[in-house]
Symmetry: C2
């Protein structure tokens, strides 16, 4: 709501405090030093401004983080090629999420990690619904498909974040760790230790995405795909 343009000719030397500047400073700070480093004091110092001045543009820290989330998600490139198959367009949509997640890895972590209360993500949802309709699915199914794709995109990202490493732990631990496991309790984990240690998130992501798309192709439809 607050305008992002300085109120004509800044009175002094400094570029005038602004919600946009604050959000950008927060993003920079998070990407450079991680989410834990983000505090109102740090942001204020970054902008060479008193802490409480921030509160003229941002009601509280959570709102600042919402601003970060908004900025990050709105960076999703939702370009679409209507001449492509709905399968490829759907793939591109889900991948767009991954792309922005790679662009702002640490910010994405906080976006996923916190509970916000905004309408961010409506645009991706609109796109997904449009695609599902183009593929010939009825409304109820379109919504469910959208949600399933969302869940998969989210879950993949959470795994990659190393949300808790409970499994991801397997990816990073040296193979020697597997030797410590009880062979009776974890035969398959031990046998597949080498494979579990391998680290190719992109391939994992594409594998699951292909699974979902293939399942959608096999799903009965209300209308033929356009």
């Amino acid at each position: 709501m607050t305008s992002d343009t300085p109120g004509r000719a800044a009175p002094e030397r400094r570029p005038a405090l602004t919600r946009g500047r604050i959000v950008r400073a927060a993003i920079g700070l998070i990407e450079r030093e991680g989410a834990d480093a983000l505090s109102m004091r740090r942001v204020a110092a970054e902008l060479d401004v008193a802490v409480m001045s921030l509160y003229n543009h941002v009601p509280n820290k959570n709102a600042l983080l919402e601003g970060v989330a908004e900025h990050v998600v709105s960076g999703m490139e939702l370009q679409d090629d209507p001449s492509a198959s709905w399968q490829d367009r759907a793939r591109a949509l889900v991948r767009a999420f991954r792309t922005v997640a790679h662009e702002y890895p640490r910010c994405m972590t906080v976006v996923l990690t916190r509970k916000f209360d905004t309408t961010i993500g409506l645009r991706p949802a609109e796109r997904a619904l449009a695609l599902a309709e183009a593929a010939g699915f009825d409304g109820v199914t379109a919504v469910r498909i959208t949600r399933a794709l969302m869940a998969y995109a989210l879950g993949t990202q959470m795994r990659e974040i190393g949300f808790g490493k409970w499994l991801h732990h397997l990816d990073t631990s040296p193979a020697a760790d597997f030797a410590r496991l009880d062979p009776d309790e974890f035969p398959h984990v031990i046998a597949l230790g080498a494979e579990l240690s391998r680290h190719d998130p992109e391939a994992d992501f594409e594998f699951g995405l292909d699974l979902l798309i293939a399942a959608l192709e096999a799903l009965p439809r209300a209308r033929p795909a356009r």
Copy 2:
């Protein structure tokens, strides 16, 4: 590592401080008042103990939360019916995650939300790998399937948490909100507003799970399913 049994005959009236008691108190606190309410001071007060006494059993707050995570996930009921089809067994496995998530909803939120460094979740992973092998998949594929299922379970939970409501927002907002949207930008969202507002996480979850299982059934295998 720390023993959970009091060192024989407690010296006074109180039941002796213990890592287990501390973790349980933390879990209770989180479930009753939410993750934000969890502080070392609150836990100490809960147990009627000085704050720093906790540190004799738990190295720091993060370790306490790891204890919470461990306790929660180890509550996953991994019962298995070997006579059932691998499809049904896989379904049961993923549902087990959901079940414990319903049992400790707020704890699960913090478990998913924080980065831990434990081997929790190895047991579910073992089970998933075993099922994939029983279904006839080779090792590489088994690992990818496990990861895809994990990602889906995680993502579903994140959506349900209302992690950001960016889409979940749609589930809770009154239908009137859809009327405020730009009809040119969000035609499908508006058209499907009623459906988007409907709230049936269980059905959504099952829908996506069926998608994945169906896709797995159609996947080529190294060996016939056992």
